[in-house]
Amino acid sequence: MFSTRKILMLFCFIVCIFVFNIQCKKEDFSDNTYFGSKVIILGHRGMGTYYKLPGDTYESIIPAIGIGSDGCEIDIQLTKDTELILYHDFLLSSSTTCSGRVSESTLSEIKQCEYHSIKNNIFVYSLDEIFSRIPDLNKLYFSFDCKLDDEVTNFDEYQNQFLRAVKRICEKYNMSNNVFIEGNSSFLRKAQSIGLTNKLFLTDAVKQSSIDTAVFYGFFGICTEMENFEVESQKAHENGLYIMTYTPNNYYSNIIALNKDVDILQTDDPISILKLFERYNYEYIIP
């Protein structure tokens, strides 16, 4: 039999839990940006790398949009027949049933590649297929992490083909204003010379030299890892540059990233950050 003292202790424990629950008030964070807008919240490869289904797929992008994300960061690559696909690694064998390099395979070959996943029938998608299936596409934002395979024979021409394919698809879906392109300085300058009107983000640390480069070439902003801030975002903002950051993967790292005054956040945990700012769609049921 339990003594009265033990029952009293149990009761106190329960009371403590409820007091703790009440006392855990959320701090006030802001999603306002330097430019008088709101932070754009993008799901990294869709729902993030910790989602049960593979990223860069329709199955990962649709839930991210469904819960309220403003869009997604996606990895894109060019196939042998100059089509764009969503895939992270250069080797198909790393995540799918196929083998070979993406740059050496055609779209029809790649579309047969099934992801190793807990769910069957998840295949590699073309960008065209993804864009055609997303409802209200023009209200969303996408950041293209262009995976350039430097083992191709003519890398210069390969980059040009890549950018022309990006231009083609953005124009087809009227998405030039809503698609950001990440890359190094030379790739972005190629994009400018080809006539891409997308928002171009220089992939580099936030430092004085990258700010100078971005300003000099008229890039839209800087895209960097959360840890790569050598100077404050304010410096970039004062020069009219937007800051996009990636790698936060939980509630606390999302907050750390926000405290760096970023304008666009690519996160592996879109749920917690959307909930924090009342931007989470509770009605959507994640598959």
């Binding site: 029952i7 909930k275 700012f277 598959p287």
Partner: protein
Amino acid sequence: MLKKITIFTYILFSIFNSSFSQENKDSIYLKNSLKIDLLSMYNTFFDNKVQIRIGAEYEKLIQKNSSISCYLDIGVYDKYNFIKYYNFFNENQGMYSVKQNVTVKGFHLLPAYNYFFYNSKKNNERYAFVSAMLDFSCYKKNFSYLNSQTLETDKNSYNQKRTGIGLGLGVKNNLGKHFSIELKTAFFTKIFVYVSNSDKQTIRPMNSQWNSQNLNFWWINNLKIGYVFN
């Protein structure tokens, strides 16, 4: 998911089988109990939404090894805002938002028949039981909508009624003569659902810890502290 639940149930059965197999079976002497559910009061820390719920149960012993119970879960299940921003770069007509304010109030009534398949007077009287249960729920959802660009507003509400049937598995431990603690897990399937406005989305079972995407199945857990009396 179903596979996981089956494995979980099997493990729970196995634990109690090994724990109680050597112990004497005995009846439950005190006939009535009133319980309060602690899990229904739990609010998720990182959600910016309000939940004010209370869950309570009355249980009456009807035979040596069986009882009937009725569980009531009532309150504000959801109260939150959902803000969606558009045109972040202030192009064309500038950034605007669509703000929805949502409140879901209602109750769940869960009558159950419980069969005690293990009991022991050792270890302060422990019981393991299975339950056949029903889940009647009734919700009223109020929502308002404001588009900051067009200043278009909308205010509406609708009702939903759902009935489900399920099986539960629980363990109960008496704490002294008049108190008990009970852990129960139950899996339900839908019998019918009625939504007063057919254009609106069906509300998920708000008392559940998990539900399938088509809302045909849901899973409820309870942790109850009870007062036992004759």
